[in-house]
């Protein structure tokens, strides 16, 4: 089976600094693989391991962040056989629609595929639509919230976990699925896999190479601002002796 796992590199949240004017300073934030995309990559490699003659390609589109060679080795250490990256200034902070259009064009350039796996949303914008848009653009079956994938002949059977129901769906291939964060626990890359990662093939394209158009974005981002912190009283007592707990409960009673 030919599987494409899509991923995004996002700034490490821990390193993001909130400026005085509530804007975010991302300069010190190192790139990392978006958390939920690790589930997509893991799902792809697990599926490939279960199907003989499978190949997993990791695919990402974006700006300069994708030039980071450590991040490239990082993704390849997690199982994919090859990496495809579309790097273009036009894709710098691209929103979902432009991202999906570039992914669709890149998938076309990669050639044939059976299944594309995306994560549920990225750690930065968490827009939760790229995979769905991608499937619709490619005019193939696409479904979100997939919590289990079983490969079959020319199809996959998936479980889709919704708010109160689970659907078991038969999805004809080729298709796109967006997996949930609890479909698997991504394996921590082994020493061996890390050292092997640098030897795997990497293909880099520009937007022109894949023939994608990037104009006419339907949505524009106006601002990203940290919320104003609610003022809290911060009355903290140390110790759990009876009188301290009693005082704590007294405060509690007052707001009941």
């Amino acid at each position: 089976m030919n599987i494409v796992a899509c991923f995004k590199l996002v700034p490490e949240e821990q390193d993001i600094i909130v400026n005085g004017d509530r804007t975010l300073n991302l300069e010190k934030a190192t790139p990392k693989i978006s958390l939920y995309d690790l589930n997509a990559v893991e799902a792809a490699t697990e599926l490939a391991a279960a199907m003989p003659d499978s190949k997993v390609s990791a695919l990402s589109v974006g700006g300069k962040i994708l030039e980071n060679s450590k991040a490239r080795k990082d993704i390849l250490s997690r199982g994919p056989d090859a990496l495809y990256a579309v790097i273009d200034p036009a894709l710098e902070s691209a929103l979902p629609r432009e991202t999906a259009a570039a992914l669709a064009a890149a998938v076309g350039k990669i050639g044939s595929y059976d299944l594309i796996i995306c994560g549920e949303g990225s750690g930065d914008l968490y827009a939760q639509q790229v995979g769905l848009l991608l499937g619709s653009l490619l005019s193939v079956p696409v479904i979100n919230e997939v919590s289990k994938i079983t490969a079959g002949d020319g199809k996959v059977t998936v479980e889709r976990t919704l708010e109160t129901e689970v659907e078991v769906l038969e999805v004809p291939l080729p298709a796109v699925v967006c997996v949930t964060a609890d479909i698997n626990t991504p394996k921590i890359p082994s020493m061996k896999a890390i050292l092997a990662a640098g030897k795997k093939p990497i293909t880099v394209w520009s937007v022109t190479d894949i023939g994608a158009s990037t104009g006419g974005a339907p949505v524009v981002m106006q601002s990203i601002l940290a919320p104003a912190q609610a003022d809290r009283k911060k009355v903290i007592v140390e110790g759990d002796s009876d009188d301290k707990v009693a005082a704590f409960v007294e405060s509690l009673r007052k707001v009941l």
Partner: protein
């Protein structure tokens, strides 16, 4: 001089961090320590991830890595608060590559791949500590079999590891340089009795007295050349000294970081204690010591990777790091105040564990002895 880690090294270290953060929280080690339990799950995880096989040749299923990378891995495990002093798998394999036979090597690799050091190394005896010429455990031959008799003590992992290497003397040997041999022993063999010692630290591994009472082994249990026991062990002692230096560095960083964070949080006399210059002075001295230890460990590892002799530098490095790490961890405890002395704070465990770096693997004094002689000799003419 290039101090930059390679991308691979950075990824290896972040994989170690991810594994410990995700699966082995401080509580896990606290519990193992309290229960005097070998952290087998953690050791298996080191095996599964390939960390225990770092530096073992690929033909043996290992993961090629220079000594510097191996030391970085030990340091990172220690920095995360995990018992890095248990990481000696690759060392076990290297010994067997150097002087073991095929079967001994295969058994070693098999164990180390699961994360557990294959064997304990039984040298020390009640009357022979620093002075190992005094070893009294003997091997004798009768009807084509070999018999071990005597007693060892302090043996790390004797109750945890699958095999044991015993250094024993040929009672008829005349030349003290040629009368010690190494023997491969199953610690469950009849005639072996193992008795755990009670220690203030290193509680996650056993240290035992081992009694040998006519323990019967085959000739094939001989490791390397008969009479060459110490010659075999010598070169690897140097690596062991460097390794013990790395065992010291990681925990010192762990304690330092924990204490430094605390200085931002703990308020006394209306200010965070970090705002007091006496505390800042401590932190500054600790930071300098950590830098020095790092540089020393990396340099000695680099020397080995570049085929230079470690004879002097490994002794200096062990001596410096084991003493200095103890100072750093002690200062970290001081910064934590009473909290640092409780078992809820892992610095107290590091404090107990670090002390033995100055005793095991050759005491401070023996390091001085080894190094001092060489220095004097260097300037003899």
């Amino acid at each position: 001089m290039d101090f930059k880690l390679t991308e691979e090294q950075e990824l290896l270290l972040s994989s170690i961090r991810e594994m410990i953060t995700r699966n082995f929280p401080a509580d896990y080690f606290k519990k193992c320590d309290e229960e005097y339990r070998y952290p087998i799950e953690f050791m298996h995880a080191l095996g599964e991830n390939g960390i225990s096989m770092l530096g073992v040749p690929e033909e043996l299923g290992g993961i090629p890595a220079d000594l510097l990378t191996q030391m970085l891995a030990i340091e990172e495990v220690g920095r995360m608060g995990a018992p890095c002093f248990l990481m000696m798998g690759a060392h076990c394999v290297h010994n067997m590559i150097d002087f073991g036979n095929k079967e001994q090597l295969a058994k070693t690799v098999e164990a180390v791949a699961t994360g557990v050091p294959a064997y304990s190394l039984a040298i020390t005896e009640p009357q022979a500590g620093s002075d190992n010429n005094m070893l009294g455990t003997t091997y004798t031959r009768k009807n084509g079999k070999v018999y071990l008799n005597g007693q060892k003590t302090f043996i790390s992992g004797a109750a945890d590891y699958p095999y044991m290497i015993v250094v024993a003397r040929d009672p008829d040997g005349k030349d003290p340089k040629k009368c010690f041999s190494l023997w491969w022993v199953d610690p469950k063999s009849p005639g072996i009795r193992i008795n755990r010692l009670h220690k203030i630290g290193w509680r996650m591994v056993s240290n035992c007295e081992v009694f040998f009472d006519n323990v019967e082994i085959d000739e094939s249990a001989l490791i390397g050349q008969e009479g060459n026991g110490f010659v075999h062990l010598m070169r690897n002692f140097e690596i062991e000294r460097l390794t013990i230096a790395a065992y010291s560095l990681g925990p010192a960083e762990c304690a330092f970081e924990e204490a430094a964070r605390y200085t931002n949080q703990r308020v006394q006399f209306g200010k965070t204690i970090g705002s007091y210059q006496m505390i800042q002075d401590k932190l500054t001295q600790m930071a300098i010591k950590i830098e020095n230890m790092k540089n020393f460990v990396y340099k000695v590892a680099w020397q080995d990777d570049n085929k230079q002799s470690l004879r002097l530098s490994s002794a200096l490095c062990k001596l410096y790091c084991s003493q200095t790490a103890q100072e750093v961890i002690d200062d970290a405890m001081q910064i934590m105040g009473g909290v640092g002395y409780t078992e809820d704070c892992r610095i107290s465990r590091l404090w107990r564990d670090i002390r033995v770096s100055r005793i095991g693997g050759g005491t401070d004094q023996i390091m001085t002895y080894i190094a001092g002689r060489q220095i004097v000799k260097q300037y003899a003419s």
